[in-house]
């Protein structure tokens, strides 16, 4: 296999809660290949969300290094990290996190607006995304006028509009019923099949089982890695 998309080595993340220290991540070693489909599972407080935040450059480790596409991103300045987030990473959240006052089209365009892409190109790509996700007739609706499934589709369209290398999804179906959750997962998996690395954090073992690789977190440590098992 070629060089990994993500390489974490000796990652430590410690939170201070009053006097006590909480080790959210302990000595984490992890490599994820480009184009992989990984499910991160584990009970609450196991550190899986911390791992996702770290991978998304929203959080910094206390120790260890994180190489993204061969580049050490832990030492980057906040501005450079924002650039990497903008260009290489797409987020999908459990509670969608759409901006309520913006229309579906404007929400999808938001990453491009922030990146300063010119309006003509923005409109073109938003129209394409709206068509791809079956939202063309919902373009001018605000989030509160959309169903849960439509909202998550808007969120996925927004996450992919900058054509990122990876998508980080935190319980993407957590707020959806089974049928719409299934739709959303299919969309995400379709993106993965086109080469986007997909990392999903979930409680749901059924959902986790669909991934190519399962990671089980417990007490900030990696307890189980299906990829390691296969090799053994």
């Amino acid at each position: 296999m070629g060089s990994a998309l993500i390489e974490l080595s000796a990652i430590e993340r410690v939170f201070h809660l009053g006097d006590s220290e909480v080790h959210a991540l302990r000595h984490l070693e992890l490599a994820i290949d480009s184009g992989d489909y990984v499910a991160v599972m584990g009970p609450s407080g196991s550190g899986k969300s911390t791992l996702l935040n770290l991978l998304g450059l929203l959080d910094r480790p206390n120790a260890g290094t994180y190489h993204l596409e061969g580049r050490d991103v832990t030492t980057l300045s906040p501005e450079e990290q924002a650039r990497v987030r903008s260009e290489r990473i797409g987020f999908v959240f459990q509670s969608f996190h759409l901006v309520p006052r913006l229309t579906a089209a404007e929400n999808i365009a938001l990453p491009m607006t922030l990146a300063g892409i010119d309006p003509a190109q923005r409109a073109e790509r938003v129209a394409q995304a709206l068509a791809d996700y079956g939202l063309s007739n919902r373009a001018d609706h605000r989030p509160d006028q959309l169903s849960g499934g439509q909202r998550q589709r808007v969120a996925i369209a927004r996450a992919t509009i900058m054509q990122p290398a990876m998508i980080l999804a935190d319980e993407p179906t957590g707020n959806l019923d089974r049928a719409t959750g299934e739709d959303v997962m299919r969309l995400l998996e379709e993106l993965n099949s086109r080469g986007v690395t997909l990392i999903v954090v979930t409680h749901d073992t059924l959902l986790g089982a669909r991934a190519h690789r399962q990671l089980l977190m417990e007490d900030g440590e990696l307890r189980h890695d299906s990829a390691v098992l296969e090799k053994a």
Partner: protein
């Protein structure tokens, strides 16, 4: 983020909460309107006074009996304490000065006037023919006092419009004989109405030759001597010459006060200008208060929008972008408030002018510019803290808030 996008984003964020936005705009508007209205009042007062003074006549030097300033010990004062009277001879002597164009002696007192059984107490002014031009007055009917020897005037009187109405009604006043005190005068002219002013109200004035007035009051002294200089430039020269002549005539003692209208005007101008400035300063405090309100509201807004800020960061917004977005929002709200306040203030000033047409309540340009820019600056300055707070938010924690 491109500038138009930033502005649209800030505008949407501002209008996304109409109550918050309108409260902020209102606070800022009240501050700016206060500056505009109060400076309009202050500057209006200044203009009113200056205009009134100018209407007394231009290039005027006024001689008053007695010294108003104490200038140290003067041996003359030790001997004669009472100042000499200003006399008609003094006034006439002033005509010799090169920079003096016209001289008007003025004796003032009250007397009774009667005609056809009607009796009235009036203000009596004894003066000469030049009074009309020097004071920039005009006649409604007839003519003014005739030229001639100041010491032996003809028994002629010019009366004010109101007195004409009261004594003569619809009848013609010209040529009629009236009794003033114990003398009879022929009415030769009627003053045109000047309205209420700072000076004497000519509507209720009876003007007679100065010598007759003095005889009637049984005194030699003049109330004032008004001197008109040849030009604006020669006012100072006229003042010096007048002082010199009077001094010579009064045995070397400078026992008169000579004031120029310019000096009086300048004093009032300065005084009321300072007053306007002070009032503007007080009004500016309300702008500072509005600024603090901007800060408060923006801080609340940052707390309310933490999730959105976290999201923007996750989507690749830098701290600078978020700071600019919040600053732009604060600036836009302040600007809107400033514009609304400007219109409100101008409207209020216009209303005042409508209600009191003689009062020129125009806000000075400097106050309008200062008010608007103070509003903008306070809005932005007080927007910095919330904007920085927003930019510093930890995206993980902001996103965790639901």
């Amino acid at each position: 983020m491109r500038a138009p996008d930033l502005i649209r984003f800030a505008r949407d964020a501002a209008t996304g909460n109409p109550l918050r936005a309108s409260l902020l705009v209102l606070a800022m508007a009240i501050g700016v309107a206060a500056v505009v209205v109060l400076t309009a009042l202050g500057d209006g007062a200044r203009r009113y006074v200056v205009d009134e003074f100018s209407s007394l006549g231009t290039n005027l030097v006024i001689v008053l009996p007695g010294r108003s300033q104490t200038g140290g010990f003067n041996p003359g004062n030790a001997i004669t304490n009472t100042p000499r009277d200003l006399t008609i001879d003094d006034a006439q002597a002033l005509l010799r000065a090169s920079s003096v164009q016209r001289v008007v002696p003025l004796a003032v007192g009250t007397s009774e006037i009667s005609y056809g059984g009607k009796l009235r107490e009036v203000m009596l002014a004894g003066t000469n023919a030049q009074f009309l031009e020097v004071r920039r007055l005009s006649l409604a009917q007839g003519r003014f006092l005739s030229e001639g020897d100041w010491r032996r005037g003809a028994s002629e009187a010019v009366i004010g419009g109101k007195i004409r109405d009261e004594l003569f009604g619809a009848q013609s006043a010209l040529g009629q004989l009236i009794r003033v005190g114990d003398r009879r005068f022929r009415v030769v002219g009627v003053m045109s109405s000047t309205g209420q002013g700072l000076g004497m109200n000519t509507d209720e004035l009876v003007i007679i030759p100065v010598s007759l007035a003095q005889a009637m009051f049984n005194s030699n002294t003049l109330f004032r001597i008004m001197v008109e200089a040849g030009s604006r430039e020669s006012i100072d020269a006229a003042k010096t010459q007048v002082t010199e002549i009077i001094k010579l005539r009064h045995e070397g003692e400078e026992d008169v006060t000579v004031i120029t209208q310019d000096a009086v005007l300048a004093t009032f101008d300065k005084l009321l200008g300072t007053l306007t400035l002070a009032v503007a300063g007080i009004a500016a405090i309300s702008l500072a208060v509005a600024g603090i309100l901007v800060m408060n509201v923006m801080l609340v807004s940052v707390t309310q929008r933490t999730a959105e800020i976290g999201l923007l960061k996750a989507l690749g917004a830098t701290g600078a972008t978020i700071r600019n977005a919040f600053l732009t929002e604060a600036a836009m709200l302040s600007l809107a408030g400033a514009l609304v306040g400007y219109l409100l203030g101008q409207g209020a000033a216009a209303l005042i002018r409508q209600l009191y047409p003689t009062f020129p309540a125009y806000p000075p340009d400097w106050a309008v510019i200062a008010g608007l820019s103070t509003a903008l600056v306070t809005g932005i300055v007080f927007g910095v803290l919330p904007a920085r707070q927003a930019a510093r938010l930890d995206p993980v924690q902001s996103l965790a808030k639901r």
